[in-house]
Amino acid sequence: MTEYRAYLDFLYSTLESHNKKNLELTESTHLVADIGLSSLEVMEFIEKIEDHFDISIPLNILPDVNTIGELAKKVQELNP
């Protein structure tokens, strides 16, 4: 299993192109409230994660995901 840290690092690097406010990204950074991802950008971001790890992320887990750390944990769970 890939380490949690590796998921976080991938999310940080992938989010950089969306990080227009130049925030310092941490586990507690909110994807929408802080970074300001639109719904379309969220779907594009999710697709990048899916293709990188060759997984599908079910839509119904997304309402429980707000921060980068929460997403990293979910992706780790989906990629045993």
């Binding site: 379309l40 779907m43 060759d54 997984i55 599908s56 992320i57 079910p58 839509l59 119904n60």
Partner: protein, 400 residues
């Protein structure tokens, strides 16, 4: 505050009122024919009604409804599982099953409840549903209620579907794949041959929503699966009576005998009153007519091509191919509203579609054609769009 989340919508409605436009919930004050009416004080050609075969005002369907109301009364006052199954409902179920050449059918009170009901019931917790990203709201509502894992595949992209089926491993052969025949907003047709091939390779079950393609596509009007020659791969076909059949209601047909047990598990079927017998009777007559008068299908396609070619020749951004739904895509909300208002004043009613009802961040002037439209009416619609262009209401950036 409970109501805070509605403020954006309230503000938008106030803006529309201030601009004196009523694109959402425009009141039809008079119906003059299947293709003409008086809407919000304007005598208009109806070019946004989904009345594909022009049967909503057919005298034979009206007579059938009148006779059924006289015989059965105005309503059933109950669920299909209680007192609401009349002989009319059972007859329609036999007839819609026969129309599709299968043995099993359920008739629902609306198309929305048919699609939502099937999508919420077929797969459950621990199972998987794969749906097209541009699926109708009734499909999204259903799968959300199902408790299954919901995975989207890219719109009309069988390769993306195949990739996601591969990722499922052993779970793929129990997955439910959902596609639509014709997509309602842009009028594009699903690549059902390729989607069916994915199902054959990985297993699973395939549900196709033929709401906008029933009566329009296929040698006998069964829809996109018939046109693609893949009906043998379809496990569940859902659809509506409120478009080509000109009434209201929905259906699911299936070759699987288990549909009869599924019927008793669908809350959207059980906990609602059944359709009025008059509605069922007009639907039965319309179903008979589409079998007897295939020329209606030819006419709707002639009109679709005429409108599509006309709008495309104006340089307007329409979809990749002609379809009974012809949508003009625009990027500017305010200008789209101005166009809708100008079309109404020119005597043409179309649908204004805004995100998230449109499949992207674009706004749509959505036209739907009918077999009952005359060539002259189609030309009038094209001419109204030409006037909009002449008036500078289309941004060059929006041109095709």
């Amino acid at each position: 505050m409970l109501f805070d989340k509605f403020k954006t919508m309230a503000d938008f409605q106030a803006e529309l009122a201030q601009r004196e436009v009523t694109p959402f919930g425009a009141v039809t004050e008079q119906i003059l024919s299947a293709t003409e009416g008086v809407v919000e004080g304007h005598k208009v050609i109806l070019a946004g009604t989904n009345n594909y075969l022009g049967l909503s005002y057919d005298p034979r369907c009206i007579a059938a409804a009148q006779a059924a109301a006289a015989r059965w009364g105005t309503g059933t006052t109950g669920s299909r599982l209680a007192n609401g199954s009349f002989a009319e409902h059972e007859a329609l179920e036999r007839e819609i099953a026969a129309f599709y050449g299968v043995d099993n059918a359920i008739v629902f009170s609306t198309g929305y409840s048919a699609t939502m009901g099937m999508c919420s019931t077929l797969a459950g917790p621990g199972e998987v549903i794969l749906l097209d990203a541009d699926s109708h709201a009734s499909i999204y509502a259903g799968v959300t209620l199902s408790g299954a894992d919901i995975i989207r595949y890219k719109h009309n992209d069988p390769d993306d579907l195949a990739k996601r089926m591969r990722r499922l491993g052993d779970r793929a052969n129990q997955a439910l794949i959902i596609a639509e025949g014709i997509y309602s907003m842009l009028g594009d047709v699903a690549p059902l041959q390729e989607i069916a091939a994915v199902k054959r390779e990985y297993g699973g079950y395939l549900l196709v929503d033929e709401a906008h393609s029933m009566g329009v596509l296929g040698a006998t009007g069964r829809g996109a699966a018939q046109a693609a020659g893949v009906e043998a791969d379809i496990d569940f076909t859902v659809g509506t009576f409120s478009k080509s059949l000109g009434s209201i209601g929905g259906y699911c047909v299936s070759p699987h005998a288990e549909l009869e047990a599924i019927r008793f598990c669908i809350k959207a079927y059980i906990f609602t009153a059944s359709s009025s017998p008059s509605v069922i009777a007009s639907t039965r007559e319309a179903l008979r007519i589409i079998g007897a008068e295939p020329e209606r299908r030819s006419r709707v396609w002639d009109n679709a091509r005429r409108l599509y070619d006309g709008l495309k020749a104006l340089g307007l951004p329409v979809g990749p191919t002609a379809s009974p739904v012809v949508a003009v895509e625009m990027v500017d909300r305010s200008r789209t509203i101005d166009c809708w208002k100008a079309l109404m004043e020119a005597g043409v009613y179309v649908n204004l579609v805004i995100p998230p009802a449109s499949p992207s961040t674009n706004f749509l002037l959505r036209n739907s054609v009918s077999a009952a439209h005359s060539s002259e009416q189609i030309d009038t619609i094209i001419s109204a769009y030409a006037d909009l262009k002449e008036a500078g209401l289309f941004d060059p950036a929006e041109a095709a």
